[in-house]
């Protein structure tokens, strides 16, 4: 029993970090501009396909491909911001929900036409790591480490660089930031770009360990919602914690009951946290 618990917990944490990375993209965008990005799932899927294509066509190592895909993701995010979000940034929340949802439809529509909804697989392995009774695929450990590294970089960016500080300032109080001479539109676009980049990076990492398809982003989007609420809407570090918690739930709950109860527990917990502690476990922006 102890062994199963330990293995399940570590497995859960490993995947949880990647969930957390994806959710960070969602929460960052919400924190900065109060927009729930409904194109989040399709962006994750784009990251998956970016890595898949670079790996199969150019033969790039998937972990190098992730870096390239992340850069493209940043650009794509900025483009999406100017096309779909900028105009409705001050409109009621419903407008931005729908505009990002239409981006969702467009990406899925194009993606289905290009790739169909069939499953693809990045046939890449780093062997199996064995420590005592614990076994885990090497690629999975590598992917989790990259996700951790990305989180650390995000923090360096937000707290140690000027644009990063601008982002936080705009998140805190856009009007005040504008009065201080911060170019808020450009900073909002940058924040959206980074949010998209995080989602796409997470998608790219997922592609190295799991089979992918164009609709696969949808379920990560839902997981991201749960995580974001667990950690506090608008709090990136909280998202990482939320991801780890979700990973643990997914790893440990099946040890005690049927796997199909996992989503019930997840979503009930999600609603409860919203009701009892809407600022999330770590607290978030007011």
């Amino acid at each position: 029993m102890g062994e199963v618990l330990f293995t399940s917990a570590v497995d859960g944490l490993l995947i949880g970090i990647i969930y957390g990375l994806a959710a960070m993209g969602l929460t960052l965008i919400f924190g900065v501009m109060d927009v729930i990005n409904l194109a989040h799932g399709p962006l994750i899927a784009l990251g998956m396909f970016g890595v898949y294509l670079l790996f199969t066509i150019l033969g790039l190592n998937p972990f190098i491909a992730v870096i390239l895909v992340a850069v493209l993701g940043l650009l794509l995010g900025v483009v999406i911001y100017f096309v779909a979000v900028n105009r409705v940034i001050d409109a009621p929340p419903l407008s931005s929900l729908l505009s990002t949802f239409s981006v969702n439809m467009i990406i899925i529509g194009v993606g289905t036409a290009l790739f169909t909804t069939s499953s693809y697989n990045v046939d890449y392995t780093l062997g199996t790591v064995e420590v005592g009774f614990f076994r885990a695929p090497g690629a999975r450990i590598a992917a989790s480490l990259v996700a951790l590294l990305t989180t650390a970089l995000l923090y360096l960016f937000l707290y140690r660089t000027r644009p990063g500080k601008y982002v936080r300032a705009v998140a805190n109080n856009r009007i005040a930031a504008e009065l201080m001479g911060i170019p808020s539109t450009r900073i909002l676009a940058l924040a959206f770009g980074i949010g998209a980049m995080l989602a796409i990076t997470a998608g790219g990492l997922i592609a190295t360990i799991l089979p992918i398809n164009i609709l696969a982003g949808g379920s990560y989007e839902l997981k991201s919602f749960v995580i974001v609420v667990l950690g506090g809407l608008g709090n990136p570090l909280g998202a990482l914690l939320g991801g780890l918690i979700l990973g643990l739930i997914e790893g440990l709950v099946p040890v005690f009951m049927k796997t199909t109860w996992v989503p019930v527990i997840e979503y009930v917990l999600f609603v409860l946290i919203l009701l009892v502690r809407p600022q999330g476990l770590l607290g978030a922006k007011e």
Binding site: S8, R135, A139, S219, T259
Partner: protein
Amino acid sequence: MSRKWILPLILVLALALTLAACSGNQAAEAPKAEQPKAEQPKAEEPKAEEPAGKEVTLTIGFTASQTGKYNVPSTRQTTGLQMWMDDVNNAGGIKLSDGTVVKFKSVFYDDESSKERVQELYTKLATEDNADFFISPYSSGLTAASAVIAEQYGIPMITTGAASDSVYKQGYTVVYQAYTPASRYLTGAIDLLMNLDPDAKKVAFVYENSKFATSVTEAAKAYAEKNGFEVVLFEGYDPETKDFNAVINKIEAAAPDAILGGGHFQDGSTFARQLYEKGTKVKFISLLVAPPEPTFAELGDAAVGVTGPSQWEPAAKYSPESAKAAGLEWFGPTGEEFTEAYKAAHDGEEPSYHVAGGYAAGLILQKAIMDADSIDKDAVLKALDAMDMMIFFGHIKFDTSAEAHGLQIGHEMVLIQWQKEDGKLVKQVVWPKEGATAEALYPIR
């Protein structure tokens, strides 16, 4: 009632009317345009009595999932049906004894893999496009919705890609199943396991919590228990599951000899990959749907040894000779002819069983029309009831009892296994013995 708003009211009413007219655009215009066509069915019969050379084109209607989660199998199914149609039409159609030549055309719409419009689209097919025969959508859920319309209009429907038994137990009389039903999907795998290793007694069922996979595993569980197996784990997983590590840890704790289950392509291939990456010690794996797909080979070493039931395989040995041996009538092309034709048209890609299922559905319809020697629907239904033949897809015979009318009772699954030959992955048929192309690899790990 003030006069102020009468004008706008009229305007809006006009708008509403245009909207109504527009929304029926095709529908409203079509009847006018198709009025002569609408009378066609009636006109066909007198035509049929006229001397030789009369040609009729029958419309086959269906919905396909061009978008959404069923996109791949559904598209393959459509390809198969289209192949059949081209073959028949290019061969000059079906010639009935009264000299009528029957040809086919198809009309289909996108159902988006979702149920909301299935009935609307099938009604449109029945009434506007004057479909003479239906083919089912892909999946049991969508088929259940379309069957209501088929039954209502009395239009014979051949289902393919709809395996759940329950659809055929709802009192329908015009719905006929080409596939082996779900209840017999995994029984072959259990038979093979007993044959390979009488000592293997512990099985784990891990299946997708969906309509299809649940029906299959529940039937398989009963069959396994009847044959003296101990079911050490019986666990469903959410269809959205992306990470199977939690389930795999549970499997390892239960230490079964064999793992049976799976669901659809995505989850099945993920499951197989993670079982391999985790290095789970197991002697036998059999999964639904995913393994027979040619792209399963993308999994590389993780695919080795994995078995899966398949409705049909290019290597399956159904031939005019085996039909003769079984005392059945043979009909249509051989498996090799079908496979070669598909490969030639698709850059050497092997046809999957969904393609074969689509083609088989067409063949069943063709044979029924030939047997009936008529395009009259009642006659065709009678011919379907009486059908007992072998085609490249296998033995075709339908249940005619009131409880399960249209259920497939002739066709049998084959079991495939991925094996490594000279470093390359090849798909071998390992069960039933008569059709096997290789010995089963056992134990696999």
